[in-house]
Symmetry: D2
Subunit: 154 residues, 4 copies
């Protein structure tokens, strides 16, 4: 657990700790196909931390990213509002960024929370989910009025 | 934790407990689109239990099933060998069965472990991963000799 | 187009032609990550053939398999009932088999149609979708009566 | 086929035609679960058009979006460089936007091409793939130097 007040920005210490936990999570990466380790640490509104790593599959497209693992883990324990997620990889040339699938998975739980893109030395760049996925497609879009309503023909 | 000996079949008590945990996990299902709750409870070789539920997305195809959540959770904590997984839903007419994607995700970690398909009353049907996914495509297939080797043209 | 009568078994010639087309489709595989080429050729009830190949992604889990490409292609042109699909790879040691995700994608359009697993020499093994995905989860399962109905709490 | 010169911006007429084709493709949407029809029309550098629709699955997360269908279709026919893609839905309140998964699937084939978000009345908004998926994770990221190289322990 990380102690952190409500809607305040995270303290430097908390960010540092979150990145450290994402780096620890990276050690469990099951990435025998890509050899590309990724770790994630998710901070809930209740200051609980859930970590994740990538879990690959022989059928490449059935694997799960680190970020989605961390989020699914939190949801399965009853946590669905988040303050921030930190992401770690072994690449030092640039801050690791989430794939589009993970951005969409994050966005399901709100657009206005933070993503810390990190490097192995612990340095990081903060972006919001909304900045990473502008003009996003979200839950409310599914329920907008449609000009043509489909009957279930099946 | 569930106490259980190595490669022995699970005791009735253990199976009952595993199914109960899958039913508990179901309560956390984030299934606002399908309204179809699924829970899973995974027993590792070390007798640790990891639970999961489905976590859906406004972009339907980016959601994650309960079984995959439970497995990714275990892997992200360092557990990659499994004895059994129990699956629960709200359907009482038939034993709930895993989708093909989850069968493939299970198979990554071996073909010879058990899947308990359950009903809300706790009754269950046991099948192995191999029975659920016969003549499967697995990790070793990727490394078989090929008659034509591709250079990376990109 | 392949000429073939209604619910009769496919002629040897038709099977041979379908496998040949799956091998041709394999040449378009965009598989820069796995270097594992797969091709598929799908025969609709109307005797139209749609081919597919794997299309991979830098985020491994966002790629699409050859079988799903072929099926999505047919559906997008208005064809949703199928007689058979042939699958080809470069592996000669065994008949290539579809992943669990593709078996589920096939099953959406019925359990009782044929999958031809082939080798580069054109030899093949026929299985039905149902044999590849026993006790499957299908469209009708979603609408079964549930012991607990969820209100949309979101 | 649409006639259009190399790297010039698309003519109004071409855009109009592309949107019309995405609306036509929408009619084939297999969306019995979401009842949310989506169509897409992709223009290749060679001025070929490939259309797609969403193809859903009883296991929601195994479906495929319209945009990915159109792109996989083009790739499976040998086309891998694109000028633009148009997207259509039945929602008139806002321009329909692609999910994060599709943005990532587009980005595999370059960041600098156009996405036309449309409404049923044919009006549209143009954005580039890069604008829709800023600081993206792409093919080259996988091959960047890593501070820690993993041996294949499996
Ligand atoms: Zn991702
Ligand atoms: Zn599943
Ligand atoms: Zn597949
Ligand atoms: Zn999409």
């Amino acid at each position: 657990n990380i102690k952190e007040q409500g809607s305040q920005p995270l303290s430097q210490e908390t960010v540092k700790e979150l990145i450290k936990q994402s780096q620890e999570a990276k050690k469990h990466a099951y990435c025998r196909y890509s050899k590309f380790r990724v770790g994630a640490a998710l901070l809930t509104n209740e200051n609980r931390v859930f970590t994740g790593c990538n879990v690959e599959n022989a059928c490449y497209n059935l694997g799960i990213c680190a970020e989605r693992t961390a989020i699914a883990k939190a949801v399965s324990e009853g946590y669905i509002t988040f303050k921030a997620i930190a992401i770690a990889s072994d690449v030092s040339e640039k801050f690791i960024t989430p794939c589009g699938g993970c951005r969409q998975f994050m966005r399901e739980f709100g657009s206005d929370w933070d993503v810390y893109l990190s490097k192995p030395d612990g340095s990081c760049l903060k972006m919001t989910v909304d900045e990473l996925l502008p003009v996003s497609f979200g839950p409310e879009d599914l329920y907008m009025e449609k000009v043509f309503d489909i009957d279930n023909k099946y």
